[in-house]
């Protein structure tokens, strides 16, 4: 038996959030991200025989996802015709013709921060895979979707004290999982 097995039935439950989060920060459009993620799952299904079990399922799916994201950018670039890059190099006499070129792009300052936050988001989602289904679901509803306690209790038919015990267990697991790299 291969070291890592493959089980497409579980893909959506296990990896959809991770893949989605990976994609949305790169394409910045929900609909496009949804398309890319579901194309990734389809491509995975079609090339399951190529899965050698050398990498984990997630790593394998991500490598497909990366190609899909590149494909997406190729496609929108070819729609525009040629991708255009205009550059004016400032010299000592003429520091760029436009005022905009003299002003530092404020997004540069945050680029590193943003990258770290993306990495952090993926680390958290990866750790969430350690939770059992119920814990993950409730933790996600409460923490990421920000639903209030009453709504969750009604929907899942659990008591508030039950909810808090589950949240406590989920948070303990997550804190332990993240402790090594992020605390």
């Amino acid at each position: 038996m291969a070291e890592n097995s493959i089980d497409p039935e579980k893909w959506v439950d296990r990896y959809a959030d991770y893949l989605f989060n990976y994609t949305i920060v790169r394409v910045n459009d929900r609909e496009v991200a949804n398309d890319i993620v579901s194309e990734t799952f389809l491509a995975g299904l079609n090339s399951m025989k190529n899965f050698k079990g050398e990498a984990t399922e997630r790593t394998w799916l991500i490598s497909i996802l990366k190609r899909k994201i590149i494909d997406h950018y190729r496609r929108i670039n070819s729609n525009k015709g040629q991708a255009e890059v205009k550059m004016n190099f400032p010299d000592s006499e003429n520091e760029g013709e436009w005022l905009e070129e003299k002003v530092l792009d404020p997004s540069h300052r945050n680029a590193e921060d943003q990258m770290e936050n993306q990495e952090l988001g993926l680390a958290i989602l990866k750790c969430m895979e350690q939770l059992n289904e119920k814990q993950a679901r409730i933790f996600k509803m409460k923490t990421i979707e920000g639903l209030d306690t009453e709504t969750i209790c009604n929907e899942l038919n659990i008591s508030p004290s039950n909810l808090w015990v589950i949240i406590h267990r989920a948070r303990t697991t997550l804190a332990q999982c993240l402790e090594k790299n992020w605390f």
Partner: protein, 88 residues
């Protein structure tokens, strides 16, 4: 009954109050009891610190996940593809 629970909360109750506090759902009464408990109970204080750090990290990460509806759409597309695969 031990000393800690005499002070208002036992450690399990403190853990719950601590989690509630991460979502700003503690009442004033609970908040005070929790403070008192944490003052005397080192392990709970440690746990509380970690819990706060976790909240901070989650906030910083600005995680975006897909909804159940979107996930169902993925499943649907996979199922359709699966049933057509044999014809291709």
């Amino acid at each position: 009954m031990n000393l800690k629970s005499l002070l208002g909360l036992n450690c399990d109750e403190a853990a719950t109050a601590c989690s509630k506090a991460q979502y700003k759902e503690t009442s004033l009464r609970e908040k005070l009891k929790l403070r008192l408990h944490l003052f005397f109970c080192k392990p709970c204080k440690e746990y509380s610190k970690k819990n706060q750090k976790l909240s901070l990290l989650i906030k910083k990460a600005k995680i975006q996940t897909c909804s159940e509806v979107e996930k169902e759409a993925y499943r649907q597309r996979m199922n359709n593809a699966g049933s057509h695969a044999s014809k291709r």
